[in-house]
Symmetry: none
Subunit: 399 residues, 2 copies
């Protein structure tokens, strides 16, 4: 079917905006209650719903809880189970590191360990980004023959390591034990192909341990999500789109770059995103606008906090609408119910607004309101096709 | 996708109960009327609906009328078109016969024929089970070189025959002419592979005819549903579940056993099933509870009778609810409208209740009430995925 879509592409200047409210879907905290989205005061989102076709989407499939990268892949029209995107790649691309085929990247957290070598804090007291950058600079003195090593700060205690030695494989296990009071794990190959990368990672960790010895609180590192650069057709190749990402949080820049999006740097908040959107309005035809903190508050289990974040997004909606996009989609990449303090498999509300929709009587942007919408429950990857169609970017199929 | 599900399994002690009200879906008997389920007084099912996510499921696909075995396969999460389960296998496993790979089983009905060899009654006057057992005992004297023959009583005039000779094929035609006043048919191979089994069946029928000669009313046999044991991954392998079947009717035990379920024997009614459920509650995490008589009354075209059976199930609901399963699904394996006196292709109402659902405002467990539910119409095989997700038995997919 994707091949068919590809053959039907016709480019034009019509504008599609996809607003992703991360983890927007939720659950009631008690029987008979409302969800976060249903509880929030969202006059602008509700007004949009009244002019839209509404529904729920399943990002990956029935019962599947999406990670952030697969959830976004689906929204961009890529079947997430066709492409494996490791955490390391998301992190590396997120900070703009130019990964090459054959590189292996991994997330690197600075951590604290006691004199016996047991991990006491997996985040090294959440050291600030400046400290993290300083330590990454220190790690530049690691030297492994035949291997280029890159260590770059991401945020707080988070960094990313990339090994380059020509055709490395990511078949390597995490060293993060995911708990404290135990030692970090050794990186191990999960297949013959992973042997070389595992050896490099092992040697890297030995040298880093020497360099960090005696430091406080960051005297250890934990690595996870070893990942090669996947081969994914760009959104230009796949859908003929010229996409721009307007994103604050690094990881989502990474996903955008993986699909060939241009990325606006140094955006700090929705205000910045609105300005950048206006500034670049003429240059692109697909705009990915991402809001992270709804998901964060969901993960924290902070019901009132998530409501406040949703209301913050609601106040931003007029800035999107005044640009008069030809197609505007508002949705999430997955649900993050405060009740669960985690991503969940529940379907995600969406609405799609353009001059060529059949508004379906849904007057509110909420999980159960949208369930009564025209589209019912559809696979997440279909949203982009609706957007392309309503923006007149797909020709007629057949005679 | 099934492979993805398999990789995401995380086991826990949470309990899933699947109540199958066989053939529960129905049709109005006249224009403007209600279905059997809509007509029944079901306060407990309706109360459950108010706390559930509701919808309809298509067991196999649009327009397909499910047999009992495929309908159940779908509910257990197996694409029915991927696995062929013959009637003979269902019957053999249903009575607990330990079939082996390479065996061929067939349903065997005792019948009556006249002096010209024409069938006069395809059920031998519905002889009682004891008589059937006696005749099966008599048939033990059949002797075919190189072949082990097993004949076991099922119920009333129904028995099952199993041939064992190493690697037999089930490519053999039925001998039941499906009408009276004609001779029974010869078993014929439908491919080269089926030749040996067809010869064995032919010889078996010749010897049985001699043994039954002069008896009344059972002086003939009819065979149908020649079937090999299909290779199906167990529910443990596929979904990490530890399943128990609480079933009265033999055939459904057979389907359960095929998927590696433990089966509680000698259950006579819903009361027994409720007791057994409580007795085994701690040992398993998936419970298949089956109720047959809604389907039987549907096949009889007995509208009032089917309503009464549905109300009997309704009265049983509190015994399920008081066990506080983490996930409770109530549905059917297919529709059996009294109007049609047969299974039908119509979608089947379902509801799924847990602490992590979004109740959708459906206040009644009925075909049209559930059509307005959150899930709309979904493939039957997806129900198990929702159950796994809501019981927290599936990890997050991807970074």
């Amino acid at each position: 079917m994707l091949e068919t879509i590809h053959e039907l592409i016709q480019k034009n200047k019509k504008k599609i905006v996809l607003l992703v409210i991360d983890g927007v879907g939720g659950l009631p905290m008690q029987k008979g209650g409302k969800t976060e989205l249903e509880s929030a005061k969202t006059p602008h989102l509700n007004a949009l719903a009244s002019e839209s076709e509404c529904g729920l989407h399943l990002p990956i499939g029935f019962g599947i809880t999406p990670g952030s990268a697969p959830g976004h892949l689906a929204l961009f029209g890529y079947q997430p189970t066709d492409y494996s995107i490791g955490r390391g790649v998301v992190a590396a691309l997120g900070i703009g590191f130019p990964m090459q085929a054959g590189d292996v990247a991994a997330r690197l957290n600075f951590a604290s360990m006691d004199s016996k070598g047991n991990i006491t804090d997996r985040r090294a007291g959440r050291i600030p980004t400046e400290k993290c950058a300083e330590l990454c600079e220190l790690l530049k003195s690691v030297s492994i023959p035949g291997v280029e090593v890159f260590v770059k700060p991401v945020k707080d205690y988070r960094a990313v390591a990339v090994f380059r030695s020509g055709g490395l494989s990511d078949h390597v296990t995490d060293t993060d034990p995911q708990m404290t009071g135990v030692r970090s794990l050794d990186p191990k190959p999960t297949s013959d192909k992973g042997r070389k990368a595992a050896e490099i990672a092992g040697e890297f960790i030995r040298q880093v341990s020497e360099l960090l010895k005696g430091r406080q609180p960051a005297n250890a590192i934990l690595m996870r999500g070893f990942a090669e650069l996947p081969v994914i057709p760009s959104m230009e190749e796949q859908f003929g789109l010229n996409p721009l990402a307007l994103v604050v949080y690094p990881d989502y820049k990474g996903v955008g770059r993986l699909l060939g999006m241009e990325v606006v740097e140094d955006l700090k908040d929705l205000n910045d995103q609105a300005h950048a959107l206006r500034d670049h309005w003429e240059e692109y035809d697909f705009f990915f606008v991402h809001y992270k903190y709804t998901d964060s508050k969901g993960e924290d289990g902070n019901f009132e906090g998530k409501i406040a974040e949703i209301e913050r997004v609601d106040a931003f909606i007029p800035k999107l609408v005044e640009l008069e996009p030809d197609v505007l989609i508002v949705t999430g990449d997955h649900s993050t119910p405060c009740l669960l303090k985690a991503h969940s498999s529940h379907p995600v509300p969406f609405m799609i607004r353009s001059d060529v929709v059949r508004p379906d009587g849904v007057k509110e942007f909420g999980e159960r309101a949208c369930a009564a919408g025209l589209w019912g429950i559809i696979p997440g990857i279909m949203l982009i096709r609706l957007a392309l169609a309503y923006a007149d970017k797909l020709k007629k199929y057949g005679a």
